[in-house]
Symmetry: C2
Subunit: 240 residues, 2 copies
Amino acid sequence: MIREGIQDVRALAFDVFGTVVDWRSGVARAAQGVLGPYGVETDWGYFADRWRARYEPSMAKVRNGDRSWVKLDVLHRENLVEVLNEFGIDHVEAADTDRLNLAWHRLDPWPDVLGGMHRLKRRYLLAAHSNGNVALLVNLARYAGLPWDVILGAEVCGFYKPDPQSYLRLADLLGLPPSACMMVAAHGSDLRAAAGCGLRTAFVRRPREHGQGPREQVDPTDPFELVVDSFEELADRLEG
Amino acid sequence: MIREGIQDVRALAFDVFGTVVDWRSGVARAAQGVLGPYGVETDWGYFADRWRARYEPSMAKVRNGDRSWVKLDVLHRENLVEVLNEFGIDHVEAADTDRLNLAWHRLDPWPDVLGGMHRLKRRYLLAAHSNGNVALLVNLARYAGLPWDVILGAEVCGFYKPDPQSYLRLADLLGLPPSACMMVAAHGSDLRAAAGCGLRTAFVRRPREHGQGPREQVDPTDPFELVVDSFEELADRLEG
């Protein structure tokens, strides 16, 4: 039997980086591919970690109103320049920096993703609700074969997650009350903000998101309706 | 050989009502299904025409700033109440009016659409760029099996076509210059506005859009790169 509170869910809104796709190994591979020919040798997973570490602070400036709206592609490009500086890599051509920035457009899904999504799509509307910009998400979907019904997210909603406006606008665009939308993510901060707006929530454990680094834990006080280890398990649980 | 000016096209943006789906017969069928049991007898194609006739004037009020943004579902609902009045139908339950309003969410594609779109999708990014709201377009895509890469359109862009901002925002969201986007439509006004913003244009003849009513003609002065009779022909022409 489907747990109370989720039987009215009509749409599943997915976080993408870390939840749907393995950004760390994809970005590490792309960085090696672009920077290796320059003679750079480093721990490429750590390079990806350091690039990703600039993601939250750079978006926070937009969320806080310290700078006006820019696409995530722009933030990624600025952050890449900073991380290249941090690693003392100062001789990369602009065209190669641009090319490396597109690493975020070509990332592999976790092994359970496609099978789970195709099952979930039979009963639910599947929406990408990521901080990635539309072009990034479209390219990622074509690269990875993600069967979205609709790509929404920060650029369409005009607010970066976890701004509450992002989740409320999502539900409005889907023509649904927030309680008919379930946010699916590997990150508690995303889900707690969604729950605060009345959305249902499903936490997906992605223990390898940060390689051997820290794993995100669910707190007993977290209000998530479901906690699962894969999209296949999510489909099992939602099928009751 | 692909005609000069269109070899750089990366994305095809489609008008939907009339271009992708046959709204007239679908709406007529739905109207008969909902209103027939009330004892209403009329020319259901003409009923659909009269409902559709209120579409442009109702959007114009939003475009002109005479009223603030509302979804097309809301305009359709208001227009439906007016057309029911026009036909002297005054005893329809609100729930049935709501149900009939969803006729625009369930329309059949023209026979060449699915085959053509699947061919075009191999090489091009396919975007819905309709005045329909997101929920309407998502429901329509699921009903008809339309393989969109992304659903954009008026609600996401914040402007009803043919406002130039609608086409410029489309290109911006796709991360492409306007000249890399081709608008595909059965309506000259849509394409002329798109061309004025620097998009490429393809006119698709849909001689049965208005049943036995007037057919939209291409003027020799129209700037369209392509004029075709079907999405299959569009795929042929773009494959060069």
